[in-house]
Symmetry: C2
Subunit: 319 residues, 2 copies
């Protein structure tokens, strides 16, 4: 099966970014075309597009705006480039890969600013973004190749949140391991934590596994301990939003609990992530920033109020 | 503050059972009057009334039907009594307290059946039900008195599901400990697991704590590990649906995971429950039956579909 592409650059430097609106999954497959930087910013902010790996594609949307800058002087280009990078960075201040990509894009043209015309710089930026995308694809495939041997015939695999194709340019990180194992004919079963508050496991991971015909069972997050106790989980594989220099990994809220439970049940726990997820400026995980998200994600889940008015909520998300 | 009564017998033997429809909380406080055995059965089945402790109040509704049996012979009364008990028992086959109460009600009149007229037997049954209610009230207060010393000034207390007044005749079990500690002037903070899939923590426990002015924060179930790691939880207190002879306790799904996490963080974990929750016929917890609940509780949570069509779901509930 060939699942739909999570995001796609359509056209040349005057083109636009087309992405799956992940807030509409799993009941509707809706594409959104982002033709301005503001639309890209909004897509990241509203989590229409998400995941540790492909936020650098936000860089794509940037090019569209640069295309309007033809004739500007180098200084204006440089200023605008920084302005746009800061703006996009503000859409998700805790996303390390977003900053990694924004920096890489700026670095790519830093030396060229004084000697190349803007129309050429825009082409360079587009090529760089497409190169990042291709590297991402290769990275996903490599993680799949390396990791797939970890899953044995008949295993129960547990995962939390979504580290699949919807979180990368292509194939995912944690899910790449499963996709590759399945392609190699391995049969196994995946337990998918629904991943409150935003249900990325239920909405996205369950959908991706289904798209690829992999046997999966959806569970509430609190059931992970139960299926471990029942001996139905032989391996846990998750993605990561950021990894500190000492190897501490941050991922969606709840991942730490799954890791502690896996240890208590003597189940191996793997983090599948590319090298760009490492943030060597952080000595250990305690320094990884945590953002507080909207309390309504918890109290007004999906369409109905489930908590009394005025209740306090703690809704952290480490990235 | 004097919170509304969870359930109330209104009138004499021709009376009826009035209960809070807990499926409407926390946004609406709706009472339902159950005037037939069928209405009581439905209230238990649909979880309008719930909790380990007060399912025996289902016995109340039974009396109404008996009031129509005046003039029946002892054998018909006995048969009807057994029939109604079996019927009510089928509303929640895993609820040990329900069966405990149904048996107690039958035992109470067993010796009287051949020598007392039905109208007297009905009175005896009503008195017995009211006695159970009063014992329940005393039990809640005793649990509160005994347990309240466990909570120290400034503690963070974590609980899962609802073991409060809404699950008993009066004051709760786990929450009785908190209510009593608060009445004694202790200040502490409660973290309330929302308790997927049915959100009893968010809907009921958060509401009850708010009604009594106790400082509480609602968290997704997967955040329990995080607040433990942050050093914000000094004690975990939960209720129990059933306790085996060796002390193994079954409670809402997710409780086992909380216990493992508490152990890993060296946080004391207490089960607050009355002696009627012990089921000495079970040697250990593995024998406690688990029911599979409707997958739609997970996939169609509260008003919106959050998982793809056709996804497999594992939705166990031990009682």
């Amino acid at each position: 099966m060939n699942p739909p592409r999570t995001l796609d650059w359509i056209g040349d430097t005057s083109g636009f970014l087309r992405l799956i609106d992940q807030t509409q999954l799993p009941t509707q497959l809706v594409y959104r075309d982002c033709k301005t930087v503001e639309e890209v910013w909004e897509a990241i902010k509203l989590m229409r597009v998400r995941g540790a790996r492909h936020r650098h594609r936000g860089g794509d949307g940037r090019r569209r705006r640069f295309a309007n800058l033809e004739g500007s002087i180098a200084e204006a280009f440089r200023a605008r480039l920084r302005q746009v990078a800061d703006y996009l960075g503000a859409s998700r201040p805790t996303a390390v890969n977003l900053f990694w990509a924004l920096e890489r894009m700026q670095r790519r043209v830093a030396d060229l600013l004084d000697r190349e015309p803007p129309e050429h710089l825009v082409n360079v930026l587009l090529d760089e973004a497409l190169a990042i995308e291709e590297e991402d694809r290769q990275m996903c495939r490599a993680i799949g190749r390396v990791g797939s041997a970890l899953i044995r015939e008949g295993d129960g695999v547990l995962t939390h949140c979504n580290a699949g194709g919807l979180a990368t340019a292509d194939y995912g990180t944690a899910l790449a391991v499963m996709f590759t194992a399945a392609e190699r004919g391995r049969r196994f079963h995946v337990f998918v934590d629904e991943t409150r508050p935003l249900f990325q496991g239920a909405r996205l991971t369950a959908w991706e596994l289904q798209q690829r015909g992999i046997d999966a069972t959806l569970i509430c997050d609190s059931v992970a301990a139960q299926v471990m106790k029942e001996g139905r989980v032989q391996i846990v594989i998750v993605g990561a939003d950021r990894i500190a220099a000492n190897g501490d990994a941050a991922n969606k809220i709840g991942t730490y609990g799954v890791a502690v439970l896996a240890q208590a049940h003597e189940i191996p726990f793997y983090v599948a992530a590319p090298s760009s997820t490492f943030d060597l400026s952080l000595a250990k995980g305690d320094s990884i920033p945590i953002e507080q998200r909207d309390p309504r994600e918890v109290t007004h889940g999906f369409g109905k109020q489930t908590a009394p008015d005025g209740v306090k909520v703690y809704n952290p998300r480490s990235m």
